[in-house]
């Protein structure tokens, strides 16, 4: 028997590899987006701190902007530093 594939449609799934399911700031799923965005993915990326905690980028930036002094991780209160690795 010989099968000839005439057409195929590829389907892929993606997910963020984070240490939690939800963003600790907005409480929305990481695989979704922050409340200000419409589409998940590269338009609403996740960022990690050096403390290993992870948030929607838009959420952590808003949090840091609301903290004029002592910019700390909202989870563990260590000084917040972006992990650029």
């Amino acid at each position: 028997m010989k099968v000839t594939i005439k057409k195929w449609t590829g389907v892929a799934t993606w997910k963020w590899v984070a240490n939690d399911d939800n963003c600790g700031i907005c409480r929305m799923a990481f695989d979704g987006c922050c409340p200000d965005c419409k589409l998940p993915g590269d338009d609403c990326p996740l960022v990690w701190g050096q403390c290993s905690h992870c948030f929607h980028m838009h959420c952590i930036v808003k949090w840091l902007q609301s903290q004029p002094v002592n910019q700390q991780c909202p989870m563990c209160r260590q000084e917040w530093k972006f992990n650029n690795k």
Partner: protein, 199 residues
């Protein structure tokens, strides 16, 4: 109200309802409007404290900037505690002020308040009169706090001596709560309380 605040409160509300503390009747929240800006909280007085057996009602107001700013929380139920104003119910707790973090939730706030009832910080008082009694006459503080829990929070421990003294002042035409405040502030010494009320 900003989208993020309402959406988050919606999620948190479900989270509290499902939490095991609710199952144990230790905390509760109720929505007061459909914009998620005002809620009613309830915490049970922790065991082995003068607040045991009482239910304390809290007013929770969620600012538009939540969760980047803390919710505004106040005791509606009158309470005798060094870090809570016996007059206004205002709370002195660091996480409701400068130590707030966006990852905190209604659930963790209610649990922190419950912990505050178990472990007062008399050196950082909201009510100086209560804090002074707590430090200088702790036995009297326990009696007073238990009595207030009985009268205002439905606690089980009736204190006949306190009730009698309040009745004595009430017979002189003093309003009951005013009499209770005066007696509480003067370690239940009837004479000093009377003197203060009529001076």
């Amino acid at each position: 109200m900003a989208n993020i605040a309402a959406q988050r409160i919606k999620r948190e509300f479900k989270e509290v309802i499902k939490s095991e503390e609710v199952a144990k009747c230790a905390i509760r929240v109720e929505l007061l409007n459909d914009t998620f800006t005002e809620l009613k909280g309830e915490i049970a007085g922790p065991p082995d404290t003068p607040y045991e057996g009482g239910t304390f009602v809290l007013e929770i107001k969620v600012p538009e900037t939540y969760p980047f700013n803390p919710p505004k929380v106040r005791f509606v139920t009158k309470i005798w505690h060094p870090n809570i104003s016996s007059v206004t119910g205002a709370i002195c707790l660091d996480i409701l002020k400068d130590q707030w973090a966006a990852a905190m939730t209604l659930r963790t706030v209610l649990l922190s308040l419950q912990a505050l009832l178990s472990a007062a910080e008399p050196d950082d008082p909201q009510d100086a009169v209560v804090a002074k009694q707590y430090k200088e006459n702790n036995e009297m503080f326990q009696i007073t706090a238990r009595h207030w829990t009985n009268v205002y929070a439905g606690g089980p421990n009736i204190n006949k001596d306190c009730d009698d003294k309040i009745r004595r002042l009430a017979d002189m035409g003093i309003e009951e709560h005013q009499a209770r405040v005066a007696l509480s502030s003067y370690d239940w010494e009837l004479e000093r309380a009377t003197e203060q009320l009529f001076s």
